[in-house]
Symmetry: C2
Subunit: 231 residues, 2 copies
């Protein structure tokens, strides 16, 4: 039973709140029973798992938790990264919010067969917030990291100014659905490298943009339907 | 220029972090230039607006901010509530996460003509997190509060176990798209009061559920397309 805040395992968990420590160690933290179960189900490689009241005093586990009090279990896992292949992949550029990155990983797990590919300027998918938002999908379908130019396949970018809607835009499998930051969209040099653009039809007086995770959900839904119609 | 932390305006802003103070006063806080602009654009009634370095010392404004340091402007506004009418409305039951509630208000503003109707057990749409996630849509299309049985129209519930998909399910205008909490879904007594159910098709091995805001986005997108096809 760990009873000292200076214990090395607790120190490791604390350090992994920082992106640079996650990057240098290749490790990350998952908190809570649901995530640890998702890790087990996916056969993820645990570096360590600490259960409150069994391996560590409950108060000490709380003290290294990102979720606050009442944490019952924390696991440290080895990051895994997928190859950026698959019939339908999402490519994100400059999506800085970890909650959105994690939510999109969850959504892609439900609706697409390929991983979420993280391009430049994205939040770390192994940050605590992203892992939590992924609801464990980060274990089931690990993210990929690549630049758009390294991806094979037909590249369709979501763009509010595109003439074609998602229903009418050209698309081919294997497909890469490209999304940028909510306000800026894709930078011009990325936008110029896609094969087609499409917009989500909005009502008159609508806001400038949708939440990027909502836009990704709509795009993956529509693309799956269109591909099923063809098959 | 406010220079005392005991100033009544600052005290009011601090109090409004609590739901019961928002409920009793009918006021809420919006932070940041984007939200204050959205409020102005919607003609919202400001109780007060404080600009850092002009009306109040910057450090003091930071101290009452939910966003942390660097806050340049905070406004206090009167809550507005819509009638729960419209051709397409979202009804939420037990959606406790304020970020999801705010995001769905934003999405409905983009894709539907009616307000988001909040049933029992939902997060306060006027909490700081919900207001921020709404990106100002809470000003443009204020939420409604009602029980499902008080709503007129055809009620379609999203349900992962429904036999029909969103594309095939029966629907009629005026429509109420009903969503429950991510895990529990709609409680049985609510589910039994809807006219139809529909599921979002998921891949084999998919997670149990989508993020509720993503599910709402997909449902509103599909419903808008189906209604446009008929018109």
């Amino acid at each position: 039973m760990i009873t000292s805040p200076h214990n090395d395992k607790l120190k490791l968990i604390r350090k992994l709140q920082q992106r640079r420590h996650r990057a240098s160690s290749g490790l990350f933290v998952a908190e809570g029973e649901d995530l640890v179960e998702a890790a087990d189900a996916a056969g993820a490689h645990a570096e360590l798992v600490l259960v409150a009241g069994q391996d560590v005093e409950a108060g000490l586990l709380d003290s290294v938790s990102e979720l606050g009090s009442g944490t019952r279990i924390i696991g440290v896992y080895h990051q895994r990264w997928s190859e950026p292949s698959g019939d339908v992949r999402v490519y994100l550029h400059g999506v800085r919010d970890p909650g959105n990155v994690g939510t999109i990983i969850r959504t892609a797990h439900a609706l697409a067969d390929g991983p979420v590919v993280l391009g430049p300027g994205c939040a770390d998918p192994y940050s605590p917030k992203a892992v939590r938002a992924s609801m464990g999908s980060v274990f089931a379908i690990p993210p990929a990291a690549a630049d758009l130019s390294d991806l094979e396949g037909f590249k369709l970018a979501l763009d509010g100014d595109a003439p074609d809607t998602l229903r009418d835009a050209e698309l081919e499998a294997p497909l890469v659905v490209c999304l940028g930051a909510e306000r800026e969209g894709l930078p011009a040099d990325v936008g110029s490298r896609v094969d087609a653009t499409a917009r989500i039809p909005m009502r008159p007086g609508a806001p400038n943009s949708l939440n990027v995770a909502g836009a990704a959900a709509i795009a993956l839904y529509e693309v799956a339907n269109r591909m099923a119609d063809r098959a």
